[in-house]
């Protein structure tokens, strides 16, 4: 047996496996508003991330996503429970002083706050927060940039665009911080529309300069040298792939939303997959790029993907069999525990043990002590 089939052989798991695992959990989370399975998914992602993350900068992003998730819940509660008049139930928690607003706007400020409204906002926020955390887990376990290496040849240009976006989005944020701090030195307060205008110019100019620099670097390193097919065939493959992906998106939406007409779901998904595959096959033939040390797709990858898929499938089955357990008839009822769905989610914790351990150099606790600091 080749060593990469061993779950104990230290190596980096294929990032695609992590993303599929996380998408499985996210799909499961999208099908229920019962807080019990949602919380389970949340801690499962947290546990696996804690067990298998590396010491790379992107591996720390789970914490940021978790914070974002908490903010989402808080915003949801404030806007739905405190600011909306329509959703208040009969169990009044407390009454805030009310500021009169014309009733037909559907907005209220203050007034009664009911348990039902708060709980409902919390559950709905929790669902969104859980999905966010799934994405965060995928991002910190399998680098998005690394994942983009596996984008099929036909979509290579799009992959590159994503790489650039991934680089510049965080860079824009740090640049904006730096420029804001600099404006304080000129006696400017950082508030108001004027400050935004003053901020935009240096930040965007910086971003533009850097993207030009990156483009020059890529060009001089041979980017695009081997993709010299005729324009027609490029257009055709592009169209095929895009049409296919569109089909896939519509199909997935149809399946997940569960409400659309029958033809939108599975047939569309399969048709889209087929088209995209054909397009990628032809598109892939025209690029002469090669891949350096591609991550193997071996047994652990299958296992990790499988557990994520298992969580999703059991959730879908559970929704079919006992929908009442997954869509609460009333928010105030004690949430039932959907055993099947929970069991499925708990399977997805297995990657904490099934994914191979990280090679020593990537493991956080063995970070080189003499590691030089990055400029503060």
């Amino acid at each position: 047996m080749r060593p990469q089939h061993l779950v104990t052989f230290p190596r980096n798991l294929h990032p695609g496996a992590w993303w599929l695992w996380a998408l499985g959990l996210a799909a499961a989370a999208s099908r229920t508003q019962n807080p019990v399975p949602l919380l389970l998914i949340l801690v499962v992602t947290g546990f696996v991330v804690a067990a298998r993350r590396s010491n790379a900068p992107w591996a720390k992003s789970y914490g940021a996503f978790l914070k974002l998730a908490l903010i989402v819940i808080a915003i949801r509660i404030v806007f739905q429970a405190v600011l909306s008049s329509g959703s208040q139930g009969p169990t009044v928690l407390f009454t805030l002083p009310e500021i009169p607003v014309p009733s037909d706007t559907g907005i209220k400020l203050g007034g009664i706050i009911s348990l039902e409204a708060v709980l409902r906002a919390f559950y709905e926020g929790l669902q969104l927060a859980t999905i966010l955390c799934c994405i965060g887990a995928a991002n910190s376990l399998g680098s998005a940039r690394r994942l983009l290496r596996y984008v099929p040849g036909a979509l290579y240009e799009i992959g590159v665009a994503c790489v650039i976006a991934l680089t510049f989005a965080p860079q824009l944020v740090t640049d904006a911080g730096r420029v804001r701090a600099a404006h304080r030195l000129r006696g400017q307060t950082s508030r108001g529309l004027g400050s935004l205008k003053r901020l935009a110019m240096p930040v965007l100019e910086g971003a533009l300069d850097r993207s030009i620099e990156l483009a020059a670097a890529m060009d001089s390193r041979g980017y695009g040298r081997t993709t010299d097919a005729g324009r027609v065939s490029r257009r055709v493959t592009g169209l095929l792939v895009f049409g296919g992906l569109l089909g896939v998106c519509v199909g997935v939406y149809g399946l997940l939303a569960g409400t659309s007409a029958g033809w939108v779901g599975l047939p569309m998904l399969l048709g889209g997959c087929l088209l995209a595959a054909v397009g990628m096959f032809f598109g892939g033939r025209r690029t002469g790029r090669t891949k350096y040390r591609p991550d193997p797709w071996a047994l652990p990858e299958w296992l990790v993907t499988g557990t994520g898929l298992a969580a999703a499938v059991t959730m879908f089955v559970a929704v079919e069999r006992t929908p009442a357990d997954l869509f609460l008839a009333s928010v105030t009822q004690v949430p039932p525990v959907p055993l099947l769905a929970c069991a499925g989610i708990l399977i997805a914790i297995a990657p904490a043990f099934l994914a191979p351990p990280l090679p020593r150099s990537d493991r956080p606790q063995t970070a080189q002590p003499q590691q030089l600091e990055v400029a503060a």
Partner: protein, 545 residues
């Protein structure tokens, strides 16, 4: 290997060509140094080698550039990727992947090399550049010198015959720069690579160069030749060459070692003369109290303290140089002094105030900072408007900033866009804006990054004037020659602590990393700059007459 044949380059909206009628041949296996003032066309010359000019930049190129027999007119940069490796100024902005190993492989992937070849070449390159330890490390976690080495490695894997580098050490501290230059020298000597690099800090590289190409700018003819020939009357020269000129050595020494072997007589001649003190002159007519005081200052990011108990005082009229490795805490100290960062314990007082508690519009009257990227301070669309805005911000009479800027950088069209200014002009514009409010304390973060010698001399004069006018000045810098020239006191920070604090000669002469070239040549005597030596010699001559 590289031939420029009557090459002229004109960019679209420029009135005159950047390069005119360049004829140049760089033979194989040479390390060729391209020097010239900022904006003289160095970068254009370098980019013409791998076809970025004109394929990527636009503009028109007349004449012919032949690289390893390929004409850049018919070959795009990507078609030259296996012949020319190009490394830009900021390695981080040229990285496409996020791990060292993948970055090394990127170029080969683009060329479609088979995976066994890639595997072998990555290993070879890792060993060649001493990166094997770092192979799995994220690129953003590396130090500046390591990043630059990875950038070099990432173009070496395609086995180019030529390596082109645009100011590879401008952002690095002296030791990291050594690391990169040593690597380059090894590539030239062991692999027979042809290396072409542009650099402002000649003192770092000129000794390694086999050939120097001087791009004088203003479309004057490009000169090339051996370093000794070119530097004899070049307007830009490293201190070792200037000292050679002062002492009248022939041929000119290029390295400290060469100079030291010739310096016996000079040392004897200088032995009886007194070195200039390099201390602050008392400021006439002012109270000359401390403009900044820190006591047991601790500041940091999250759990990691960057500054660990810094206590110091900065007086009016002093020019204090803040030195230390990248990441030692220089920038953090400046940030706490302008209140951009709150100390987690200890005290900071600037001009009697606590900077972090001041409102922005009061702050600028007490302390001003010219950031590492001076353009951060600028946001208007013309220089004139920038000045008017600064007057408003500072609440001073209109025209003040304009007048200051005129004095620092004469003859700049106020209708120009700040982006179109040269690095030096942009720095002086930022400085003028900061000075408009007359803050007693002026801070500069890496002011010489990207400045040529002429601009640096101008900066030195400006700083001296400011100090004489009673401003306290702190500059964080890696540039030892600048420090030798201008500083009256040096603080060395390491690991967040103050490890040295004293007058410039006391601190730098004995330090291997921070000693200027003249000090190394004339040690144990405490001379710091060629100008000091020249003045002392001239004085001695007049006295003896």
């Amino acid at each position: 290997m590289i031939t420029f044949d009557h090459v002229s380059v004109t960019f679209a909206d420029a009135p005159a060509p950047v390069l005119r009628d360049v004829n140049l041949t760089i033979p194989e296996g040479e390390l060729c140094l391209v020097i010239g003032r900022t904006g003289s066309g160095k970068t254009t010359l370098l980019r013409a080698i791998n076809g970025l000019v004109p394929h990527f930049s636009g503009g028109t190129l007349s004449g012919r550039v032949l690289v390893d027999g390929r004409d850049t007119r018919d070959h795009r940069p990507r078609d030259l990727a296996d012949v020319v490796g190009f490394v830009g100024q900021d390695p981080l902005s040229g990285f496409v992947t996020d791990v060292v190993e993948d970055e090394l492989a990127y170029g080969m992937e683009s060329l479609g090399l088979p995976s066994e070849v890639m595997r072998k070449r990555v290993e070879e390159t890792l060993d060649l550049l001493g990166l094997a330890e770092l192979r799995h490390r994220p690129l953003t976690d590396l130090s500046g010198g390591q990043q630059q080495r990875v950038a070099i490695g990432s173009v070496l894997t395609t086995h180019p015959r030529i390596l082109v580098l645009d100011e590879p050490t401008s952002a690095l501290d002296p030791l990291a720069a050594e690391e990169v230059l040593a690597t380059l020298q090894r590539l030239v000597h062991d692999l027979g690579l042809t290396v072409v690099l542009a650099e402002h800090r000649l003192e770092r590289v000129v000794q390694y160069a086999d050939r120097v190409v001087l791009v004088p700018g203003g479309a004057r003819p490009v000169r090339d030749g051996s370093p000794e020939e070119v530097l004899v009357d070049s307007p830009i020269a490293p201190p070792v060459v200037e000292l050679g000129r002062v002492a009248g050595w022939q041929p000119l020494p290029l390295s400290v070692r060469d100079a030291r072997r010739k310096a016996g007589a000079l040392r004897a001649q200088l032995a009886d003369l007194t070195e200039p003190p390099h201390t602050a002159e008392p400021v006439a007519g002012s109270t000359a109290g401390p403009v900044a005081v820190t006591e047991h200052l601790v500041a940091g990011y999250g759990q990691t303290p960057v500054l660990q108990g810094i206590s110091t005082t900065i007086s009016a009229g002093e020019i204090v140089a803040l030195m230390g490795r990248n990441g030692a805490g220089k920038s953090t100290l400046l940030k706490t002094l302008v209140g951009m960062k709150r100390p987690s314990s200890g005290r900071v007082h600037v001009d009697g105030q606590v900077p972090a508690e001041l409102k922005p519009r009061d702050l600028l009257r007490h302390v001003g900072l010219v950031p590492q990227v001076p353009a951060d301070l600028l946001y208007e669309s013309t220089v004139g408007r920038e000045c008017t805005q600064a007057d408003k911000d500072a609440g001073v009479e209109s025209g003040t900033t304009r007048a200051l800027f005129e004095r620092l950088s004469p003859c700049v069209d106020p209708a120009q866009h700040p982006r179109d200014l040269s690095e030096g002009q942009r720095l002086t514009l930022a400085l003028a804006i900061v000075l408009a409010a007359e803050p007693p304390l002026v801070l500069l973060d890496e002011p010489t990054r990207g400045l040529d010698y002429t601009a640096k001399h101008r900066l030195v004069e400006i700083l001296r004037d400011l100090a004489a006018a009673g401003h306290g000045i702190v500059l964080a810098t890696h540039d030892v020659e600048l420090v030798a020239e201008v500083a009256t006191r040096v603080l060395v920070i390491a690991d967040g602590e103050l490890v040295a604090d004293g007058s410039t000669p006391d601190v730098v002469v004995s330090s291997p990393a921070f000693a200027p070239q003249v000090a190394k040549i004339l040690a144990p005597q405490r001379w710091l700059t060629p100008t000091d030596v020249a003045l002392a010699l001239a004085d001695a001559e007049t006295v003896s007459r």
